[in-house]
Amino acid sequence: MAGGPYSEKVMEHFMNPRNVGEIENADGVGEVGNPACGDMMRLYVKVEAGKVSDAKFRTFGCGAAIASSSMLTEMIKGKTIDEARAITNTQVSDALGGLPEVKIHCSVMAEEAVKAALDDYSKKHPA
């Protein structure tokens, strides 16, 4: 088999996405993208002791969007809020072994989803 248009890592996360689902009573929820663009990501985070203790997602979108979501949840788990906020789209796409040029926006969406979820957390839990 020739393999798809994506790296093995992307395909692995697409076929076996980590942390799909939702967190009941999440501490923060971020939603980015919109269906008209073809991609939409909803990220749920649980925060304990200043760290992301759990993360789950639901995504409507292409292979890169699903893989980016899956990879992102893996990357932020256990990170402090500041560390999680600092994650860039390049880190996500690098972790996936690279994305096709036209799919970079999927990793951007992942980056924005963390920020949105953590913004939501901050709003709900003012310091």
């Binding site: 088999m1 798809g4 248009p5 395909m11 697409f14 076929m15 996405p17 799909v20 939702e22 939603e31 269906p35 008209a36 073809g38 991609d39 939409m40 990501m41 909803r42 639901r58 995504t59 409507f60 979108g61 292409c62 292979g63 969007a65 699903i66 096709p100 040029e101 036209v102 799919k103 926006h105």
Partner: protein
Amino acid sequence: MAHIFFDHISATPVDPRVVEAMLPYFGERYGNPASHIHDQGQTALRALDASRGTVARMIHAQPGEIVFTSGATEANNLAIKGAAAGSKDKRHIVVSEVEHFSVLNALLPLRAAGFETTVLHVDRDGRVDPDDVRKAIRPDTLLVSVMHANAEIGTIQPVSDIGRIARERGVLFHADATASAGHIPVDVDAIGADLLTLSAHNFYGPKGVGALYVRKGTRLESLIDGGFQEGGYRAGTENVPGIVGMATAAEIAMAESAGWAEKLAPMGRRLWDGLATSIPLLHFTGHPEDRLPGHVSFWVEHAEGESLLLLLNMQGVMAASGSACSSNLRGHDEEDLVASTVLKAIGVPSDICTGSVTFSMGKENTGADVEHVLSVLPAIVSRLREMSPTWLDYQKQQESQG
């Protein structure tokens, strides 16, 4: 694993008889038809002449009316730009909004050069109303271009009616028969076409070769200039093996395509019916009856198209989403990923989450292939929906309503 190719609108496997016919024209009969004073060139020229006759026969044309090109895209460009360049004072062109990009984008430089265009809307089944063509024609209309069949949604256009109207009004008619020729009958006189596009790789011939039918007497300027080949309409050494392959594919299609259609039409209906009953929120696209045999296209809510194709591929099923030639992961910016213009034209909503799929079967497919697809697709759709936030919302909404 299964290897089920349901993407014949993007490519067809070259028939072994075609390959066999082409083979001698690589290493043994390698002459250039233009250099026909000697044996090698003469052999090539004779093969070219014979091929021209065969391709002409497939569409009920005269051999001298066939201009070989590098494919459908070039033929469409030659038809549109060549007719425009050959026009004295008529500067208006009518096309449908579901034409292939090789027609629509060929209009861009013409518009820049002062041509006016009317882009006809289609109905929900993707059909052009011939009456709209009649209304669109103006005194300065040069050309009407409407495809015979749409690759993405399978709809067959009422080309004969359109051709008759164009003829009555003294307007050239170009029909893009890329998706239809070799599958359903194409007769340039019945269609009333002055120009008609053919592509070998769409009917089990090789890539890199197509043809433009040019009715005798049609004013057309060449797009590619140089030596005196193809009656002056298309310069450049002819792709002799490719052309021999196209002719062989045409020969096979003339003999066998009625049988393929007879086999594929019920397979298409079975797939259609099976999908209708097994997948909720699935909407078929294109005309329910007037469509290419073995062609089933649809969109589903709450599952994205590319993901559907990736998961289908993991199950050995190869299909297309949107136009095969427009979906492009290799573009340089995201503009290249815009939704299919065809789906937009037939009113597929762009504000809800949809994924489109085109299954196009070919002569090598079997009923078992259809059953395999029906056995795997519902689970694939469910799996993606389970992952989608919009599906979750939709279900909650349904619950609260019910």
